[in-house]
């Protein structure tokens, strides 16, 4: 039954590629419908009898699929962000051919991500990570210009390194456990004889996934990939693609499968704090909006990694909550960047300075995203950061808690500079010559407003969240 999350998109992929004209024309609508169904299914999960039907794929392959709250949150996030990306693409990508490519690749990416969050064995995990990565490569290079190729190339090179690390890790696990399902790997950790090889495997996995997640100092590809890709692809990459294939896998493996020893834990903590500070500092003096958002993304992932290193159930719950919030507000900010790019033809903040007042909706929604990222109450980002910092405090890691707190100030600093330069002042200069003049479409405005509303409402109804969404997460981890 759970395999429907993979099979239905796969089926849709076949249907889309049938040589029928009206199906091609309605591709965006069909995929949008599919993603909406996915969001609904994740939200109304209790109505679905997941285990009442036999797994179709399970009888053919050795995939073992399972659903828990972590998976549900991830499915919801994937559906939401992919839908937003689709809407952005519908109003920013012009050529019919590229539009069709985009829909197909997005669908493949969604299949990969859905599978990543559902599978419960480490080799299938690797396969689907590669599916997401490969579709991402092509998506980044969609427009085939020089910078796009460059961004893709960097991502490709570092992903290759990640693949080496992960495959070596898998080999080690196979050696130690004899089986690659999560359950047997977990039980292998209790065997003292295999401890050395398991340590090697775990640290190899850590390095590989750090590259995929873009944690400093493994983050080299992130900025160019986000910058070079088309607006809609930036949303997808920053919002979910790299997060699922990197951060989610880290959370799943290091949270509930591997047993992490103290040195590894310290490394994770340090890498998290380092990412936070480095990303925030680097974002301070960026000229390009998308590059700044990329650094901000590195900084925010740092919080999730820090919570992972803290390794208490509360910290994991906070990490997952921050994952969801980050996907929403970072997508929102990238959508804003897309709107600015569409209106003014550039994401260079020097050119955009003082022009944003012409776009009040973008300005206000951007402010919501900014404040939420910086952790201003009562927006959603505040609560998730609060949980993470509380968890750090209660486990006695005061220095890291302090860093996490102070980095919020840096976050606010660079975002307020951005907000003020673009939206809160009027430039005397004439509007720069537009490459593709045109108003932003209603769909773009709709997605901006929807994401802003999600951010605000998530923060506002936070009191109802712990019981239904966050605290059940604690049970997944050890």
């Amino acid at each position: 039954m759970l395999s429907l999350f993979i099979l239905i998109p796969l089926l849709l992929l076949f249907i889309l590629n049938l040589p029928v004209k009206f199906i091609r024309q309605g591709a965006f609508g069909l995929v949008g419908l599919l993603l909406s169904v996915q969001i609904l299914a994740a939200l109304l999960h209790s109505l679905f009898p997941w285990s009442a039907f036999p797994e179709i794929l399970g009888s053919f392959f050795i995939f073992s699929l399972a659903v828990d709250n972590l998976t549900l949150v991830m499915l919801l996030t994937i559906g939401t962000v992919a839908l937003v990306s689709l809407i952005v693409a519908a109003s920013t990508i012009g050529q019919e051919r590229l539009r069709f490519y985009f829909v197909n690749l997005l669908l493949i990416c969604v299949i990969g991500m859905n599978a990543i969050v559902l599978v419960r064995d480490i080799f299938s995990l690797y396969v689907f990570i590669e599916i997401v990565s490969v579709s991402s490569f092509i998506l980044i290079a969609l427009e085939r210009n020089k910078s796009a190729i460059e961004g893709t190339f960097k991502y490709l090179m570092l992903s290759a390194m990640a693949t080496v690390f992960i495959l070596s890790g898998i080999a080690c696990f196979l050696l130690a456990a004899g089986d690659l399902s999560f359950v047997s790997i977990h039980s292998a950790f209790y065997d003292p004889a295999a401890s050395f090889i398991l340590k090697v495997a775990a640290s190899l996995f850590l390095c590989g996934l750090f590259i995929k997640a873009g944690v400093a100092p493994f983050h080299g590809w992130v900025m160019d990939a986000y910058l070079a890709s088309p607006a809609s692809v930036s949303v997808l990459l920053a919002g979910v693609a790299t997060k699922i294939s990197g951060v989610y896998v880290l959370l799943r493996l290091f949270g509930s499968v591997f047993i992490v020893n103290a040195p590894l834990q310290n490394i994770i903590l340090f890498a998290g704090a380092f990412s936070i500070v480095l990303g925030a500092l680097a974002a301070l003096t960026q000229d390009d909006l998308k590059r700044m958002l990329a650094y901000s993304s590195i900084s925010q992932i740092g919080y999730i990694i820090l919570a992972l290193g803290c390794a208490t159930p509360l910290a994991f719950a906070g990490a997952v909550f921050h994952f969801f919030n980050h996907a929403i507000f970072k997508s929102l900010l990238f959508v804003n960047a897309a709107a600015l790019e569409k209106r003014f033809g550039s994401t260079d903040m020097n050119k955009l300075a003082g022009q944003g007042y012409k776009m009040p909706v973008t300005g206000i929604t951007s402010l919501m995203g900014v404040l939420s990222t910086a952790g201003i109450p009562p927006l959603s980002g505040f609560w998730s950061k609060l949980i993470i910092i509380l968890a750090l405090f209660s486990s006695g890691r005061f220095v890291y808690a302090g860093i996490a707190l102070l980095a919020s100030v840096l976050t606010l600093a660079y975002f307020l500079v951005f907000q003020r330069r673009i939206f809160f002042c009027k430039s005397e200069l004439q509007e720069p010559a537009l490459e593709n003049p045109g108003k932003i479409s209603r769909a773009l405005g709709f997605s901006e407003i929807s994401l802003a509303i999600i951010t605000v409402v998530t923060g506002a109804v936070f009191v109802f969240m712990p019981g239904n969404w966050i605290m059940p997460l604690k049970g997944i981890f050890w």
Binding site: S203, P217, W221, N266, L281, L284, T285, A413
Partner: protein, 608 residues
Amino acid sequence: MQTILISFILLPFIAGGVAFLLPKGAQILRAALVLLAAIADFLIAVFLFNQEAIITLPWAGCGMDFSLRLNHFSAFIILAAAFFSLLIVIYSLKFFKEQTKANQFYMYLLVSLSLVNGAVLANNLILLLFFWEGLLITLFGMIAMGGKSAFKTATKAFIIIGVSDLCLMAGIALTGFLAGTLVISEINLPLGSLSSLAFMLLVIGAVSKAGSMPFHSWIPDAATDAPLPFMAILPASLEKLLGIYFLARICLEMFKLNPDSWLSILLMIIGALTIFLAVMMALVQKNYKKLLSYHAISQVGYMILGIGTALPIGIAGGLFHMLNHALYKSCLFLTAGAVEKQTGTTDLEKLGGLSKKMPLTFMAFTVAALSISGVPPFNGFFSKEMVYHAARERGEWFYIIAVAGAFLTAASFLKLGHAVFLGKSRPEHKEVKEAPLTMLVPMGILALVCIGFGIFNYLPLNNFIYPILGAGFNVKSFAGVSGDWTLIAITCAVLSVALIHHFIWVKRSGSALTAADHIHHAPVLAVFYNWAGKKYFDPYDLGLKLINGITFFFWRIDRGIDWVYSFFIAGGAGVCSKVIRRMHAGYYVIYASWALLGAVIVMYLVFK
């Protein structure tokens, strides 16, 4: 009978408010109303004199009742206040040229009278504070009427009196705490360690209201900035009456000040310093009103010295001097007002020979000047003799300073009278005439009372002063010419020396105005005078400088903190950011090597 006490507060207050609200055209009606209110207040005060009454109404709760008490002492002060107010009202009828200013002045005057009456009658410390602080508002308003520069002076007065009133407030809180009650007539505290502090705080409030040093520095400024009737009504009479009245009640009723106490010595030192320093400043003034205002400070010193001796004769002398001072100092200010009104200036260098043009004003001035100098048989002589007597009993030095003050007072008034009324007449004052009748009548009445209280000094002493001290005090009678003949001889000798000194130096320096300049330019004194002229001794200016210094200090600290934030932290973050930015050069080889290096470090740390 009891409820009539409230009329002392309500009658002037309502009359003042109505007078202010009357339409512009109704000048005669307004004047009549104000005059009637002042006369009515005076008549009620006369009618109630020598009667006792208490009225207590519920007010703020917690022991803070609206409690008024009329006894002999308060009835005397109320009578005096009503008398002076009536005279000033008559005087002001013609003084103000602009009608709007007259409106304001009448309102402030009557409201001040109402507040003074309230403060004098109050039998509850909180009620007293209520009326006492209210006077601060009318004081500010009256000074600020003077114009642009007056506003600054008004602020200065407001701050100085405000600070001392704060001390009074603290003193009242402490006294109420120590005594367990706020009813003044029930308070009877011995002077212990904590109650000494309460005593001192209350005394600061009282003497600063009376205008003693070091709370005096606004008075000379106000003399030139504020309208003149203000000087005659508040600093010269009402505030002295109120301040010294409260000081006497503190010393006599609430605390029992005895001559052995160090607080008595402290009060005497304050009094002596005030006498001497203020009169030294008065001596060198070149402005009619400023000179008078320094004397208004100096004479307070005699009252504080007299009460501070804690001897019955000293207290009686101090209180008598309070009454006499109000009489002659009001009279002097009124003559200054008449001269200003008729000639347009009070600058001594532009005045001279007015005795022929304004003979009646000159006569009033002469009487008042003789009184303040302590020439027998004018009233100032008798009260000063009583203070001298008590001071000499307590210590020779206090007596010497007091007599030196008398010498300098006489010298400065010889100079003033000589410069203004005698000497050559100025050509620009050819057309000057005598002041109008409404201004002459109050001056004349005050001058006559000065003479009357001098020759028939037993009248005020027996009727007003001695009953205050009660049966417990054994007072030597100074009624009539009697007492210590040595003191009287010394006084007469000192006054003669002052007269001779004046004429010698007039001859030597060529004019009356410069007769005291040799003191002004004496070797060491010149430096101090110079400093005083630069306001180095003004506690207000010193306080302002101190606060400026503190502010500057904190401002520097603030700049430092600001520097840390805006340059150190923000600049540091900027530098870090630029370094990081430069490291991200865009070469994938660099990025890949970072990743490899990271992996190596991870491996090393795990297997260390």
